[in-house]
């Protein structure tokens, strides 16, 4: 029997940050920023994640040779289009060196798209869907949809990686 990290969490009853899974309310999950040895392939792992409000997401730079950011698609972030709920607060981690972390607590349901500043043009983007079970999937901002994991897939699987 394979015991999932979530099962371990529930058995232990600990509020630990773990490599991403879908997160229940009050939990903390991690998204890793990863890259290969030459820096040619970089990404968020996982790229798509579902969490319940209120949950905290921690981004950890697990890439030993590069700096990364977690930056919300928002006009306040380098004039990017709005791709988070209008009433949600945007974020920008600034550059994280290897091993550094940054966290955001999500309270407003909706679809949150974000990117890595130096790697957006290399396709390093991610999507977080904040939704409670049984609630219809929220609608993502229009356009650019092929850059992100589909909301429906994230809702079904909890996480999408790669």
């Amino acid at each position: 029997m394979i015991v999932s990290r979530r099962a371990v969490l529930r058995i232990g009853g600990l509020a630990l940050a773990v490599p991403a899974w879908s997160a229940f309310a009050g939990e903390t999950v991690e998204i890793h920023m990863v890259g290969d040895a030459h820096g040619g392939a970089v990404r968020f792992a996982p790229r798509g994640l579902r969490v319940e409000p209120v949950a905290t997401v921690v981004w950890r730079n697990a890439d030993t040779g590069n700096a990364h950011t977690s930056t919300a698609f928002h006009p306040g972030n380098m004039d990017h289009p709005l791709r988070i709920p209008a009433d949600a607060k945007p974020w920008n981690s600034d550059y994280l060196l290897p091993g550094e972390t940054f966290s955001v607590t999500f309270t407003v349901p909706g679809v949150y798209d974000y990117f890595c500043i130096p790697h957006e043009r290399a396709g390093m983007v991610g999507r977080i869907v904040v939704a409670s079970p049984g609630i219809p999937p929220p609608i993502a901002a229009k356009g650019m949809e092929d850059m992100f994991p589909p909301v429906k897939e994230i809702m079904t699987l909890g996480m999408v990686d790669p």
Binding site: T64, A67, P118, H119, R121
Partner: protein, 137 residues
């Protein structure tokens, strides 16, 4: 007497190491090179590359100078944006301040602070391939 003083001064100038032309063999290289991690947020020592220096006026191409943990020059790196190559831009007469080249690596990099676009790293190694481990981590 005056001639003798000039001769002594000239002799000192020739023999004094302090007045020898600066080289890039040992970190830190002379100005205008600056440590990359002091210019942008990158680790002081990048695994696979080493401690990196660049003259900011030469960005993005460089040359970047990479040093091992003992401060010895191991490679000279040029960072060439893919979009510039596709736009038929050429990079001519790039200086090679680091001396003899043992071998060359060329690989794709998705970007990093300082060169935030997909680009190619052209690495002129000044040490044998068997010594690349000096900057592995």
């Amino acid at each position: 007497m005056k001639l003798a003083s000039i001769a002594i001064a000239a002799g000192l100038a020739i023999s004094s190491p302090a007045l020898a032309a600066p080289t890039v063999d040992q970190a830190p290289p002379p100005a205008p090179f600056q440590k990359v991690s002091s210019l942008v947020k990158l680790p002081d020592f990048i695994p696979g590359i080493g401690g990196l220096y660049v003259d900011p006026s030469t960005l993005p191409a460089g040359p970047f100078l990479a040093y091992d943990h003992d401060g010895k020059l191991v490679s000279t790196i040029y960072m060439i944006p893919i979009a510039d190559l596709q736009a038929n831009k050429s990079f001519d007469d790039l200086p090679v301040p680091g001396g003899a080249v043992d071998h060359v690596d060329i690989y794709f990099n998705a970007g990093h602070p300082g060169v935030e676009v997909p680009h190619a790293h052209v690495v002129l190694w000044h040490v044998p391939a068997s010594s690349e481990g000096l900057v592995a981590k």
